[in-house]
Symmetry: C5
Subunit: 105 residues, 5 copies
């Protein structure tokens, strides 16, 4: 499971029927060195996360459980939560949105 930042949305009309009605967000894995990863993933979003929010991303069976459409579906990455806060040992506090990071008081 990863923490990732929501960096966009994606739409697709021509797709597997099991993808109908799902909302897909573009997410970028969180990295501790502040350098933005060039890698992105597409996650189904049953929770309603917004651009810039920090989310918990799961894959495979866990993702299918979170979506709740059973195990015969054509995708395997989903958002399982929106973080309130992530405290790191180096003193940083990573907030629920890219604009709310700070140092621990």
């Amino acid at each position: 499971m990863h923490v990732a930042t929501v960096i966009g949305s994606v739409w697709a009309t021509q797709k597997d029927p099991s993808l109908q009605g799902l909302r897909f967000l573009v997410v970028r894995p969180f990295t501790t060195d502040g350098k933005e990863s060039a890698e992105t993933m597409i996650a189904a979003d049953p929770i309603g996360a917004g651009i810039g929010e920090r989310v918990l991303v799961v894959h495979g069976r866990a993702a299918r459980h979170v979506i709740g459409h059973g195990h015969d579906i054509g995708f395997q990455t989903a958002i399982a939560g929106i973080i309130d806060r992530m405290d790191l040992a180096d003193g940083r506090v990573i907030g629920p949105h890219v604009d709310f990071d700070s140092e621990q008081d």
Copy 2:
């Protein structure tokens, strides 16, 4: 699940019987920094994507569902859709084909 660009086609006569009749495309993962990844994947394509198109790529059980030949088959990567559009927080609009990217108006 990833967004990838279709960059080629592959044919194989000598292969597992469960691969018979399937169309295989070469896809390259989309990266946000514009640098082309050297990594490629081969995806079964039940949707009919073309060279240069941006597709949703799934793996494992999700891929087997999209292909629809049951779970006793010799491959595990498939194209689940062709994107219409991907809006990124940095203002870019990634189109359905490499030639149609633009900035958000």
Copy 3:
């Protein structure tokens, strides 16, 4: 399975119901060259590990077993143990906490 170092904690109120009541830690994969990986993972922690401790991290079915809530749950990474000691062929002894590494006597 990996050895990783616990580098933080994460909280999320808005999440899949199956994540309720679980403690989530931020872990960083151990690397032999001493350079800190920028990559992090979020692991459910049924064992009670602390910041700086070196833990065994498992994924997928193994993680679900360690958590013990059955296989219908929305996550797939967990802490399966806290190491006592890791002896490396180059003479290093990696301790249970980042502060206790040493050379073999």
Copy 4:
């Protein structure tokens, strides 16, 4: 699923009984930038591929299907086919063997 090049063979007498009688090849993932990946995988080969040949490599359940010894076996990577040809959008034609690559006419 990946295209890879066969770069060697491996033998092991001391191994899990379910590996008995299988032929193992060393394969290297194909990369589009021509730089050889340092990473290798070991794949069971029921098809009879030779050194230098370009093969389709599958993992997990797909690999077990291709080998055909059921799902209680101690390995998860296999060769599912030998490519005839891979046409890339940049004009290159990747042949069935490292010695037969060319440009599209």
Copy 5:
């Protein structure tokens, strides 16, 4: 499946009960360019490999099969064999131990 080199041992008293009685080795993936990967994995070892030996490492269902304790266990990486020899197309012969590599005669 990968070839890896055994570079250490790890012990953990505080761990999931299903890990009791298992021997855990630290392994480093074999790379063809001779540069040591900084990445390590922990593998359960039912075969009895020693430091410096070159082993076949499997994951997930394959690993559970090799360990032989059923599928309700808290780990997913195991040693499935110790290689006798790996012949590479570039003429190198990779031996069963780091000290026994040579060129093909």
